[in-house]
């Protein structure tokens, strides 16, 4: 288990404030937030590379706050892989072995296992400068994993990869997490990556944690406009709430039972706003809308519409849009369930 308690860390022009995280053994924990939120700084603080103003870091009940980085037992893989350019792949992977009291037979076994698992057996004599991004990523993972760290820290491991390679590495990370039962803490700015990989998440903004919990919980129940926007709720509307209905300008939206009457905003996912078809007859909210513009995104369409002067964004299936000739100016009936509307206080 890793506990970060009341972490405060100041740098010129930026500070991490009041960071508290509880990461269970075997968790795939994601730290997400916009650029400059302080996500990577938390990893640096965990590694011991940055001096903390206050707070504690506990690793399996051992206080490592004052422990030097080389004794913490944490592995790191950076976005740019940080392979040692003057050492070949084999020497990169085995770099840390001499600092750990490991059985040579076990090391050899683990080396063979990782090299084959990660598909880098043919690269062992090559230098990092000759490797592709995906190959570097695999070598960096092998180098960190061979020491069996207490936790593996990943600093934006997917953001420098092309889409095909990204899917490959995502699968690889999931396999590593499952097969090695490794605790992984990953920094990312993409909620879709987090949704695929992680079971827990903390969302940061301006050096503070805005929300944390299970990925599903945060995805379904964002606690603020910022979090809602970050997890993909593109329709965030200022509303007055009365009698379990939200009033957005002249538009009255039926809310789920027991909705917080002190709420000030409504948030609706674009994929929850559906065109009315013969099969859909259970929506509590049905409206007539006018399409303003559409954007082809490959597998789906982004649809923008106005409903009684209020702008909404929806995501619709490509086949539906093409078959029903959805285009700007077209009027059609749309609907969404009351329990898909989130009421936010801030």
């Amino acid at each position: 288990m890793i506990h970060i308690q009341n972490l405060h860390l100041s740098l010129p022009g930026f500070a991490l404030k009041d960071i508290n995280l509880d990461i269970e053994t075997g968790d795939f924990f994601a730290l997400i937030g916009p650029t400059g939120a302080g996500k990577s700084l938390i990893l640096e603080a965990m590694l011991g590379m940055l001096p903390m103003d206050s707070g504690r870091i506990l690793l399996e009940d051992r206080d490592i706050t004052s422990v030097v980085p080389e004794k913490r037992g944490l592995g790191i893989v950076y976005q740019d892989y940080a392979l040692f350019p003057h050492l070949n792949v084999r020497k990169n992977i085995l770099y840390g072995i001499k600092y750990h009291n490991l059985d040579p037979n076990q090391v050899a076994e683990q080396f063979d296992f990782l090299v084959h698992q990660l598909g880098i057996a043919k690269l062992l004599h090559r230098y990092p400068g000759t490797l592709s991004g995906g190959e570097k990523q695999r070598v960096a993972l092998a180098r960190a994993l061979i020491l069996r760290p207490s936790a593996l820290l990943l600093d934006e491991p997917l953001s420098a990869l092309d889409p095909v390679l990204k899917e490959e590495i995502k699968d690889l990370l999931r396999t590593i997490h499952q097969e090695l039962s490794m605790t992984i803490i990953m920094v990312s700015h993409s909620f879709s990556d987090v949704f695929y990989l992680a079971n827990k998440v903390a969302i940061l903004k301006d050096g503070r944690i805005r929300q944390q919990g299970s990925v599903n919980d945060v995805f379904e129940h964002p606690n603020s406009r910022f979090t809602a926007g970050f997890v993909g709720m593109r329709n965030i509307l200022r509303a007055g709430i009365r009698d379990n209905r939200g009033l957005v300008e002249k538009l009255a939206i039926t809310l789920p039972p027991g909705a917080d009457s002190s709420g000030k905003y409504l948030a609706i996912r674009p994929e929850d706003i559906c065109p009315l078809t013969s099969g859909h007859n259970g929506f509590e909210n049905t409206f007539s809308g006018t399409i303003t513009h559409i954007a082809h995104q490959g597998f789906y369409f982004d649809i923008w519409m106005t409903i009684e002067g209020v702008k909404f964004q929806a995501v619709w299936d490509k086949n539906y849009v093409l078959e029903h000739d959805i285009r700007p100016g077209k009027e059609l009936e749309v609907g969404f369930y009351a329990d898909k509307v989130r009421v936010l206080g801030q």
Partner: protein, 262 residues
């Protein structure tokens, strides 16, 4: 298809020519003025060979001192932030700005019997005035900024993340320096030593204050010029340039990029 003439690039090239000419023309003239017989004759002169050897030896000694003491300082300046860092940077650059005879005078005033350090050195049997020690001291003084600034830039070019990863893998700061930082900065260190040696070999103003004798090559060239004229100073100058060139080409050869840079 016609050749595209880039007016801007040609203008840049034309404007660059006067400076290139300023360097190349006098040196070419000097190198090709002495006859082969003059050059051979000067090579038979033990004084010429001795002074060139002394110049090389003292310059390399100064570079070695900069390597030993300047490398830690360059690393500190590249990696650490501390109050007064800009003052330290200014101090490092001072020798570039001070007139070089002043450097000689400053070293002598510190190493003289009127100063406690001078008395301490004398008690230890170390003489500065008119000795190789004095020459090496002033050469280190004038060459040090070139070494430190070059090596500092080399350290800065190495991503700190490499050091962070090394430490996360169990290496101490010291082990990280010697296994990661130093090997990656090696070419910058060699370049720094080349810069320092080059600056030291050419030093005249500070050396002549501290030690007219034992004589270095620039002092001999000056003496030959003032005593016998241009013709007698040129062969020594050509040999000094030639030997320096061989040295620098050799140092660059050994510090060339290896296969890992592929």
């Amino acid at each position: 298809m016609g050749i595209r003439i880039n007016t801007f690039s040609w203008s840049l090239a034309l404007l660059s020519l006067p400076l290139i000419a300023l360097i190349v023309l006098p040196l070419t003239k000097m190198v090709f003025t002495p006859t082969l017989a003059d050059l051979w004759e000067s090579l038979q002169d033990p004084l010429v060979v001795g002074t060139i050897g002394r110049s090389l030896g003292t310059a390399l000694a100064a570079a070695l001192i900069c390597f030993i003491f300047g490398t830690p300082l360059a690393y500190l300046m590249a990696r650490k932030h501390f109050p007064g860092k800009s003052v330290v940077e200014a101090v490092i650059d001072l020798p570039i700005m001070i007139p070089h005879p002043v450097i000689g005078i400053a070293i002598l005033s510190l190493a003289g019997r009127n100063h406690p350090i001078g008395r301490f050195l004398a008690d230890m049997g170390i003489e500065v005035m008119g000795t190789l020690t004095g020459i090496i001291a002033v050469l280190t003084f004038v060459g040090m900024p070139f070494y430190i600034n070059t090596v500092k830039a080399g350290f800065e070019a190495i991503p700190e993340r490499l050091e962070n990863v090394s430490r996360s893998l169990g290496a101490s700061m010291c082990a990280t320096f010697f296994r990661i930082t130093f090997p990656l900065a090696w070419r910058s260190i060699m370049l720094g030593m080349i810069m320092c040696t080059a600056r030291a070999i050419s030093e005249f103003g500070a050396v002549i204050i501290v030690a007219y004798h034992p004589m270095t090559a620039p002092v001999l060239i000056y003496e030959r010029f003032t005593a016998y004229g241009l013709k007698y100073s040129q062969p020594v100058s050509v040999w000094l340039i030639g030997v320096s060139l061989v040295l620098f080409v050799g140092m660059r050869f050994f510090s060339r990029p290896g296969r890992e840079a592929a």
